[in-house]
């Protein structure tokens, strides 16, 4: 990486954590392997933090996800802003009580007396042959839960800016990191720059169709949009960045113009994030739509191990391209 104006998502998150901890003593980090004696995280996202900020503020934990989120919640009730890592998204399944029944609800149930300003970092992403229990895409569960926000950046600047905002946000935020894109370089963030929660970004403007994606699917969509452009089709690409709350205004404004929309995610299609976005677009823009909103998601099965199946599991650029073409063929 010779271009110093480019960094990876992994570096961006490390930098965001470092900057936040340096600026604010109340920011803590905990999770399995996060401290430096344990190598600063399984792929090094939290490297250097414990050395710089000490073992009180940065703690490796036992393999005890309920205890991890519980400790984060409790510390947040006492004024801290903990960033808790649940190594992989599938492991949130053992901590759902803490996340959903407590972190997301304490503000409401206490009538606003307490609140839970925690960030839950978690990684996921198929592509490494880890199979059915290591790369689920569960964002829809949390989006369906009142009281917690969900973000899923696709590039370094957004990762940095969303992490800074997530840490400062007074409520719990699930911060989803996509493993296969960790090492992809992109434009470095301005130091300290925040990306607001709940704001999408329009990556490329277009007139014919709106493509809505987040996390790794943005890269696939970008490739598809480039091919489509070469073929004379002008697709507007929206990177959702925040899944909940999502940026209705930006999405609706775009689809109102294009009249056509495609939502893409890696999670399985049924009852996924795409369903909500599709439903809202239809509700709000019924008479302006030229074709029904299309959804592309992962195959309706656990993530398979075998390489050809794993590759076929999630939508690819060619699938996105084909879906856009079929959208344009309608009506």
């Amino acid at each position: 990486m010779s271009d110093t104006s480019q960094i990876t998502i992994l570096q961006a998150i490390n930098k965001a954590l470092t900057d936040a901890m340096a600026e604010d003593d109340s920011v803590l980090v905990l999770g399995e392997e996060v401290a430096d004696p344990e190598e600063g995280g399984i792929v090094g996202v939290t490297k250097g933090l414990s050395t710089r900020f000490g073992p009180h503020r940065v703690r490796s934990t036992p393999i005890s996800e309920q205890a991890i989120i519980g400790a984060a919640i409790g510390a947040s009730l006492a004024g801290f802003k903990p960033v808790a890592e649940i190594m992989l998204m599938n492991f949130t399944t053992v901590a759902m009580d803490m996340i959903v029944n407590h972190a997301a609800k304490l503000r409401f149930m206490s009538g606003g007396q307490t609140h839970v300003p925690i960030v839950i970092r978690t990684m996921t992403g198929a592509g490494f042959g880890t199979g059915g229990q290591h790369c689920d895409y569960l964002e829809a569960w949390f989006a369906h839960t009142a009281g917690i926000k969900v973000v899923a950046p696709s590039n370094a600047a957004d990762a940095y800016g969303l992490m800074r905002s997530a840490i400062e946000d007074p409520d719990p935020v699930l911060f989803i990191e996509n493993l296969p894109t960790y090492w992809t370089p992109s434009a470095a963030p301005q130091p300290g720059a925040r990306v607001p929660l709940g704001k999408a970004s329009v990556l490329s403007p277009g007139q014919d169709v709106t493509v809505i994606a987040y996390a790794r699917m943005v890269q696939e969509a970008q490739a598809a949009v480039a091919v489509l452009k070469a073929g004379g089709i002008s697709a507007e690409l929206i990177d959702l960045r925040s899944v909940a709350p999502w940026d209705r205004r930006t999405v609706l404004e775009s689809v109102a113009r294009t009249g056509r929309a495609l939502v893409v995610h890696e999670a399985v299609t049924p009852f996924g994030v795409g369903a909500e976005i599709s439903a809202v677009i239809h509700e709000e823009l019924f008479s302006r739509l030229k074709a029904p909103v299309k959804r592309l998601g992962g195959a309706f099965c656990p993530v398979p191990f075998s390489k050809p199946l794993e590759t076929a599991f999630a939508p690819r650029a060619t699938d996105i391209e084909a879906a856009v073409r079929s959208l344009l063929a309608t009506a």
């Binding site: 703690r59 005890s64 996800e65 006492a78 503000r107 009538g111």
Partner: protein, 336 residues
Amino acid sequence: MTAPTITGVTPDAATQRDIYRRMALIKANDERARKVIRAGKLVLPYYSPRGQEVIPSALSVLLTNDDYICTIYRGIHDMLAKGVPLKDLWAELAGRVTGTCKGKGGPMHITHPKSGVMVTTGIVGSSMPIANGLAWASQIKGDGRVTVAYFGDGASNIGAFHESLNLAAVWKLPVVFVCQNNEWGEHTAYEKATSARQIADRAVGYAMPGARVDGNDPFAMYAAAKDAVDRARAGGGPTLIEAMTYRFHGHVLGDADAYMDKARKEAAVAADPVPRFRAHLIAEGIATEAELAEVEAAIEAELDEAVAHALASDYPTVEELARDVFAPEAVVGEAA
């Protein structure tokens, strides 16, 4: 019940009276609550703490408002002993906007940070993981606070118990785990659900001090609590206390409790710790009958006032559904 003589471990006379006041408050509050609910004036799921008065009373005299507790649906005794104001508490039981939580939390989710009641949970076992976090905060700040996590015997069989005790031990957190072993988890008897001969045995697996004590004996409970609280404050790490007690009523008000052994229950009720301690205080000359009667009368008067306040208060308006889901100041895109 005889006061132990180890210096510094027996509560002094004022403290004994203080413990009794808290116990009497819990008992009177419980009787009032059952009366008011049975009369149909309030509708709520009510988990009686009758029989378990000693545990939080003997412990809370060792705590200040700055110390934290996390408790459970059957935790009104823990809250009262910790000092949650009666009016706010009753207004919450009544679902009124004047309640601790504006009526939004209800009996299973009383929160009152001013008196250190940080979490009340309806999910078995979940008081413990959160207590650790509060204790971690104190450890970082060095503020000397202690966090108490209350839970039941049934809760000692759920995963969160194990993860919490292990983490607290590894991190040497200033937390006291207080298991109120009332022999029942809903309709299930201790031995049907719990393999340990005694729950205190489980402390061994965390290399943590653990003790089973008579949780209905204020002296035994005070001594065990003092040992644990002192250790926590001094940076010595967590303790597991298994406080033996008995649930006088069914699991929830309305539960006919046919599954409970009658003789065992009658024996427990006959040994009611509240009148027992009362008699002790008088017999030992620590308080007079008149003094205690005055304390009790004051409690009744306070209860009259609290209930009246609660019933006279307004309900929250439906706009409250949209409030406190997220911070009002949070800068986000349009809400989903």
